[in-house]
Symmetry: C2
Subunit: 335 residues, 2 copies
């Protein structure tokens, strides 16, 4: 198995991408196709004495898409942009999946262009695994499709339920619609109509889920438009950071609490691990006819390692084929 | 000064509402107009021996609006619903402001019907004070107007900046637009057009604010549509609860961390106070020509006390007049 890596994406630069990908390649014994500027990649590889023993290929291109560029225009202007070549390599059978931590919109457009959509899917969705008080859940769309119509949310529900079966081993996923009240009448035009459609869709629809119940684990799959999902995840990231900082202030305020803090540090580290988004590192783009894992812009080497491992696992599990079947003919469900 | 209280709203029932309102009345030496079923209110008052010494009036009505009702239809069907009589009492000069912890949509409709809008405002917004790593900030709309057009967000920016001056003493509020990326091109149709309009509005517009920067305190006023704002706040509430539960699990997992936890309890209590939404208890509805404070559905007696105190403070500060001037002729600002 070989995974294509957009070596030029990510806020921490090619160093963190190459570092993380190499750890995954060594650990999982998989090949990599590193796509980007050869001189830069070679320089990063030279820091890794063990790299020569790995199955690495380089696809040389100087072009990359910046975070401030418009993805459609940039992909048209740069046919050899690293993210596009990585997607094309998967389409052409040179790799089984691709990973990019660059511009999310560009990854989505490149993947759509190279793979096309699964039958029955109009818009793709990024599926992010979030921790809850019970067990992990899937939130989608977390940023691929910022303008949604009600039927898109129904398609996300089908994709999300299939994904929860494969990725979380969740036998009968409960699907909730993120809204501003539990009652069917609450919400905006999009969610009210989506609610109506979801009641007769082939998923175990548990109704509207309010924000305050998302982290309680009341649903295994939480469906929303990509704008709301992205805001939700980023608010959560920022809040966890703020909570840690505020708690740290309070915990170091007096001698007694400082002693307490020293003794409880291990607990904080374990807590951090449970809520840390780099534990998953990436989110698959669902609804397209190929495998693409989108990383955080701020992808650390650890996040990249975990995202590449996620890609390898989903290749082995034939995730795309399972999603295709899930959308075409949902199994074992009411409705 | 007299504050009208919708005694029938709130998930915890009239008991918590009356308890909290009485504490505020005694502490601040203000009068109350308790609106609701007289028998129920009298029964609650009988638990308070000191109530006879307070300036209390009761406006008797058996009708209340349930959380599952459609507000427009319910208000039409129940002209004597408690929230509507409370709003009308303010309009008629019998009270200076009203508080309701009932159905948010019904409070908004009742206030709009009784007071009308401020000149220059098309839609009202609920303004919620949130803690950040620096100082408190204002997020609006947190749930009054779930479908927004770009110009509504500009009006919210003007209202929010005026509110931050009055409520937070913030001399020159920095206004941010909640979106999914910092770049102007990121976002949905609503935020992209609102961004364009805000650049030439009479506010200190600092651009898009990503969710992860909201709690960092990068802006004093964060503007968004009511759906996104409500989801944001409820996600945050739920996440703080989940974080506390997860941390508690970890902190009590071993003997060492248990000792640490005991020693750091005080810090957790102080932290709780900083992030606890009941510390404010309610959110004013901005953009209408009268004062209405909307409480959480889950309003505890403490939250009600703080919300009634907030109402009294805003009456003294002539908040509505200041907002009217802020929307009509923004002061001391670029543009």
């Amino acid at each position: 198995m070989r995974i294509a890596i957009d070596a030029m994406g990510g806020d921490d630069g090619p160093g963190a991408i190459v570092d993380g990908a190499l750890v995954a390649a060594r650990h999982l014994q998989i090949g990599l196709l590193l796509v980007g500027d050869r001189t830069t990649i070679d320089r990063e590889l030279s820091r890794h004495p063990g790299a020569a023993a790995l199955d690495l290929r380089i696809l040389d291109t100087p072009d990359a898409i910046g975070m401030e560029e418009s993805p459609t225009a940039a992909l048209r202007r740069k046919p050899r942009a690293s993210v596009r070549l990585a997607a094309d390599a998967v389409r052409d059978g040179e790799a089984a999946a691709f990973f990019s931590a660059g511009h999310t919109g560009a990854s989505v457009m490149a993947a759509l262009g190279a793979f096309g959509r699964l039958p029955g899917v109009d818009r793709p969705a990024l599926a992010t695994i979030i921790p809850t008080r019970r067990k992990p859940a899937v939130l989608l769309d977390s940023g691929a499709t910022v303008e949604c119509r009600p039927q898109h949310l129904v398609q996300f529900a089908l994709l999300g339920a299939s994904y929860a079966r494969v990725a979380l081993g969740c036998g009968s996923p409960r699907v909730g619609l993120l809204s501003v009240g539990e009652e069917e009448s609450k919400g905006n035009e999009l969610t009210r109509e989506a609610h109506r459609l979801l009641k007769s869709a082939h998923v175990d629809f548990v109704g509207n889920v309010e924000g305050r119940h998302v982290y309680a684990g009341d649903a295994d799959v939480i469906v929303c438009d990509g704008f709301t999902g992205n805001v939700t995840l980023k608010i959560s990231e920022g809040l966890v950071d703020a909570v840690e900082a505020l708690l740290h202030d309070e915990l170091t305020a007096t001698f007694g609490t400082r002693v307490g803090y020293l003794l409880s540090r291990q607990a904080f580290r374990r807590f951090r691990k449970r809520v840390d988004s780099s534990e998953y590192g990436g989110a698959p783009l669902l609804g397209i006819n190929g495998l693409c894992i989108v990383g955080h812009g701020r992808s650390s080497a650890k996040a990249v390692r975990n995202a590449v491992a996620m890609a390898a696992r989903f290749v082995s599990q034939h995730l795309v084929e399972q999603l295709g079947r899930g959308v075409a003919a949902p199994e074992g469900l009411p409705g």
